[in-house]
Amino acid sequence: FTFFPGTPRWPDHRQDLTYGFADQLTDEVKAVFARAFERWSAVTPLTFTPTDSYFLADIKIGFFTGDHGDGEPFDGVLGTLAHAFSPTNGRLHLDGAEDWVVAGDVRTSPLPSAVDLESVAVHEIGHLLGLGHSSDENAIMYPTISSRTRKVELGSDDVEGIQYLYGSNPNYNGSTSTTSTHERETSGGV
């Protein structure tokens, strides 16, 4: 696991975080993000609560295309899928041009460019919380993911990294994930 330079983290007095969406999204899409946040809160003392107030939210989530004003333009289908900022910026941006799959088994998708939304959301939340990219291919924080791939469970590398920053959830029993439980990539991707 790695951290951003300077090891930024959410301070102790800001560990109950809110998140909001820039777009009008369906409950099904919002549920994907709720599950993604839950994976990180299960292993840390952090909590995440949805709010209707995008501008007041600690974490601001939006789908954008092309140049969207932060100096990191998106590039259309595949390529760059999303990006997120280090603590305590809170911005999580996803490429609105992607073919996001929010339910069902993305691995059986007939669409070569299908991308599993929850997999990408879990990764980007890791950045929001202070994790950088990992060389461990089993880690959520590994930088690449093939299309038609689902990878949503935190690896031991992710858990060690995030618990270094925030400590452990008192209810965490150490069995959230192991390498063998990962849903591994089954597609050659592009």
């Binding site: 790695t2 951290f3 951003f4 330079p5 369906t26 099904e28 899409v29 990191e72 998106f74 590039d75 259309g76 289908v77 595949l78 390529g79 760059t80 899928l81 999303a82 990006h83 997120a84 609105g96 041009a97 992607e98 073919d99 996001w100 799959v101 929010v102 339910a103 069902g104 088994d105 993305v106 059986t108 998708s109 007939p110 669409l111 070569p112 460019s113 299908a114 991308v115 939304l117 990408v120 990764h123 980007e124 950045h127 950088g132 990219h133 990992s134 060389s135 291919e137 930088p143 690449t144 993911i145 093939s146 299309s147 991707g189 592009v190």
Partner: protein, 132 residues
């Protein structure tokens, strides 16, 4: 575009503008190595610049496979647990064209992925010089 369930997806064949991904064109550089010049290598350098492997980007990258590109490749290969060849071998290209997070792997010239664990990104060359 959101697909609430798999059955809602369009059937194959499906493509947009005839291509799947913006980096697919890099596969044409297979086998390219230091000293060669290939049309479009500048875009690969832009890729490495975007993800932190080439620092201090010039206003225009050349299409030359120069020392800077080889150095970037070596660090990339180390970070992604690939054979460190410094060449655009198939294994490396297959990794490069994959969809990925837009966050850089190397921020402000430092990395703590694999390549940052043995020696720092910037001091590798100096380390070898000192040893000799």
């Amino acid at each position: 575009r959101f697909f609430p369930n798999i059955t809602g997806l369009p059937p194959l064949p499906f493509s947009k503008n005839g291509t799947l991904a913006p980096w697919d064109a890099f596969t044409k550089f297979a086998g390219c190595r230091s000293g060669e010049k290939r049309d479009g290598l500048a875009k690969l350098k832009q890729y490495f610049n975007e993800f932190g492997y080439i620092q201090n980007a010039p206003s225009n990258f050349s299409d030359d496979f120069d020392d800077e590109l080889e150095k970037a490749l070596r660090v990339y290969q180390q970070n992604f647990n690939l054979n460190v060849t410094g060449e655009l071998d198939d294994q490396t290209l297959q990794k490069i064209v994959l969809p990925r997070c837009g966050n850089a792997d190397i921020v402000n010239g430092t990395t703590s992925m694999n390549s940052g664990k043995s020696a720092s990104f910037h001091t590798t060359k100096h380390f070898h010089t000192t040893e000799h």
